[in-house]
Assembly symmetry: C2
Homo-oligomer: 265 residues x 2
């Protein structure tokens, strides 16, 4: 894609800052990391800060992500309509099951935690808090989405994510392929302590008419709280909610996922 050099560089800087720690980055760090001249980094970072996308620490002369992202991010999620639609469902499920309820949505090659309701016990999850993301394929909430995408898309996603799988304890493409076969056969995703010691998860896909699977609704709990019998009753419960949600989804306002394969560097 030509004619957007400055924009690409600016976004690269944003990503750098996003990946940096809480202390942020100084101009010289940006310059060192990108190979761009100091003046260019300064100019771009100052402009981004002027727009609120970066926050500038005047005393330490360092840049962090601006809260503008938070504001726009909330709107982006709201636009999809899924969050609002599912809010009462999450509350209900959390109250009824005492487990942690998770709403995940596909975004490019990842699945993003759109909303979460903690149960009695606050369990650790891969995505962490709201807004967290995992590569598609890791964890039940993520597999419940991946398993029901078109075969060529699945291939593209797994290929793209392969290097990232390694960063998650003992994951690899073959394992994930087997897992999603199982998910497809059963109709729901189940993990029993395989991702995080002692934490179990169940998830069912959410389909938008005409768009296929776009999200998943899941539960997280301690493995000690989940036996075979409970799996069935919970899956049943989730599926009933899923059907209700699917009936109300407005595919037109649903944020479509970018085509697999497109990702700028």
């Amino acid at each position: 894609m030509a004619g957007t050099q400055l924009l690409d560089r600016a976004i690269a800087l944003l990503r750098l800052v996003a990946d940096a720690g809480a202390n942020g980055l100084a101009v010289r760090d940006l310059s060192a990391a990108t190979g761009l001249s100091v003046s260019t980094c300064h100019r771009v970072a100052a402009a981004l800060a002027g727009h609120g996308l970066l926050a500038r620490d005047e005393s330490a002369r360092r840049y962090r992500l601006g809260l503008e992202f938070f504001v726009l991010g909330a709107r982006a999620a709201e636009r999809t309509g899924l969050g609002q639609l599912c809010r009462p469902v999450l509350t209900r499920l959390a109250a009824e099951t005492d487990d942690t309820v998770l709403l995940m949505m596909r975004h490019n090659f990842e699945s993003v935690c759109i909303d979460r309701r903690d149960g009695r016990i606050i369990i650790q999850t891969l995505t962490g808090a709201i807004g967290g993301s995992v590569p598609l394929g890791v964890g039940p909430g993520s597999q419940a989405i991946l398993a029901f995408l078109a075969a060529d898309e699945v291939d593209a996603i797994i290929a793209h994510n392969t290097p990232r799988y390694a960063t998650v304890q003992g994951q690899n493409p073959a394992l994930i392929r087997t897992a999603i076969e199982d998910v497809r056969a059963r109709g729901y995703a189940l993990d029993y302590g395989g991702i995080i010691q002692g934490v179990a998860g169940i998830a069912v896909p959410l389909r938008a008419p005409g768009l296929g699977v776009v999200a998943s609704l899941g539960l997280g709990m301690l493995t000690s709280q989940l036996d075979d019998e409970r799996v069935h009753s919970l899956v049943d419960r989730l599926k009933r909610e899923a059907v209700r949600i699917e009936a109300e989804i407005n595919p037109l306002s649903l944020l479509p996922v970018n085509a697999a394969g497109k990702q700028a560097g």
Copy 2:
């Protein structure tokens, strides 16, 4: 600021899309709204979509905000440390009071809802859900921050926000000045149905050592649930939590607010 034309234009496009409805905008809309040529809009929007900042609806050929904002926004908020620090506090307050608990943070000329815990009754608030924002000065959570900023900053903020105050039912600069005088005198902000019919709110400021007031902790409830006596006990409760939070705030990792007056167009 020179040398960032493309970047400024790109951000202008992002803002347009952000302000557009759930259906998003087509290239021709972007062109019409900005006066830029269609080709330029197309090139920039496609680049932004490639980076995930915009989501492209392939069938309708329209752009919406991308979930990338959601992901980065969550990180931006997490970085401040305030959200994590206050999470248990919010949960505790919600459980104890049965009211809605709100954590607001300053961002430029606005206050942003960083976290929220709904009580027994789901009340309407100005900021709406998490990520929502109001101009500084409107509503108790916002006034609890504004009231304790430096006088010249207050002036700059009110001046900047004056046109926006009009958009909120019966607000104006004079009213807000009086309100923040009261807040300063009492040490907390109180609204009794003045903003939204039947909804009352209380908020206390949160100070970061060396940075002054950066956020506020507040409660929302029905006016019928709030009498003079309860105001005092709730304010007391909030202030105790505020002291505890303030003791744990790490000002170094706190996102500093951009200097008032800086805002690119």
